[in-house]
Amino acid sequence: MIKVAHSDFSYDYFNTEDSPRLIIDLSQAEEEMREIRNIVIDPGHGGLEVGAKGKFGALEKDITLPISLKLKAIIERNLALRVFLTRDKDTNISLDNRVAIANNNKADLFISIHANSSFRKNATGSETFFLSMDATDEEARRLAYLENSSAALEDRIEGENEDEIKMILWDMAQAAYLQQSSQLAEFIQRELNLLLSTHNRGIKQAPFRVLTGVACPAVLVEVAFLSNPVEEKELLTERFQSRVAQAIYRGLLNFIKLYGQE
């Protein structure tokens, strides 16, 4: 382990597999961030709920966890933020409980990590999703007025959060954060494109259950396709997993620079 005893710098390091080389990446430490304090990372699936399966036997749940752990480590190494995982081992956690963990820990950012699967074998690439909602949806309309001032929503959560154990689970909390979520998705996708050599599938919207109730900017990252044999092998390598974590971290950082201050 390395310790860099200088608060003006942040660092990251990579081991290269092919040649005996250690790359240490030093950069200017980030300015203080007032708004964003807590990040919740959600490793997709777990326990009996294995997620997608690859041809060679790789399980989605076993890929999302190491990527999430790596991402947590990078964030904690570089930023003064609290990072929570919805699971840190191979356990079953319901989607609603993941949302509750995020909201109970006052998540300021929520990132759900997944590996994709398709009916066609040659589907490849990475994509980042944020929640889609029906424009005609009554519930969405009910919350739409909050889009302009998410402060109103935060106040209400503050009020309800007096009891720490109380689970906050809002049916449509994400409605107030769609704009910021799309921005976060864009930043993360851009870095995935730069750091991975995967095909860019862009940012997309879908009605994902795990995003619906989260009361902060939230995205779901589909790293690559387990249903594609080439990408399945990639997904299993530590190098690829580290790059994914690094890319997501950089995307987060750009988002924090834009929204986290003032």
Binding site: N116, S117, F119
Partner: protein
């Protein structure tokens, strides 16, 4: 007393047998020819030529892209919207005739369709729909919208689709897309 009861039981059995025979005969007739008279006029598909069949567009997957590809199929017309919708989904459960991929696991059966007055179609599939599904966000999205689009595109009275499995509401198909809400069609997913 006992003989009285036996007589009543016998009468009931005869009645049941008669009912079964009527039911079978009607069922057989219904399969070979349509009965326009028995249908409410406002929900039957009217046409000047009184044709027996109508065209519907089904949405399948392609090996080439992540979009939904239309395929035209014929179903019996002049039945209720629910019956036409049922035929449409039963066609979608069959293999594509133009070499597209099916978005629905092979063993899946359609159990029932209900249509509410507000235009929400409740579509109930057998458990194979979930068990045989590859999971994965992309697969879930395409499965769901091939069904939703195949219904909403062909039937004006179907505005939204709610998916059930074995008669029960499920959270998701494989851990991603929320099934606790009805879906609007997504025509942006259709290939052009």
């Amino acid at each position: 007393m006992i003989s009285n009861r036996l007589a009543i039981l016998g009468a009931l059995l005869i009645l049941l047998a008669v009912l079964i025979i009527i039911f079978i005969r009607m069922g057989g007739k219904g399969k070979t020819e349509q009965e326009p008279l028995s249908l409410p006029p406002e929900i039957s598909q009217s046409s000047d030529e009184q044709q027996e069949k109508r065209k519907v567009v089904l949405f399948y997957l392609s090996e080439k892209d992540a979009l939904l590809h239309p395929e035209v199929r014929e179903i019996y017309a002049y039945t209720s919207v629910v019956q036409e919708a049922k035929q449409t989904l039963e066609e979608l459960l069959k293999e594509s005739q133009s070499g597209y991929l099916s978005p629905i696991p092979p063993q899946t059966k359609l159990r029932e369709i209900f249509l509410t007055r507000k235009g929400v179609a409740y579509v109930d599939f057998s458990k194979d729909f979930q068990v045989g599904h590859p999971s994965g966000s992309t697969a879930e999205i395409l499965t769901i919208y091939s069904i939703v689009n195949s219904l909403a595109y062909n039937f004006k009275s179907i505005k939204k689709v709610f998916i059930l499995i074995e008669g029960v509401e499920k959270e998701t198909l494989g851990g991603h897309v929320n099934l606790n809400k009805p879906f609007l069609p997504q025509y942006s997913l259709i290939a052009r």
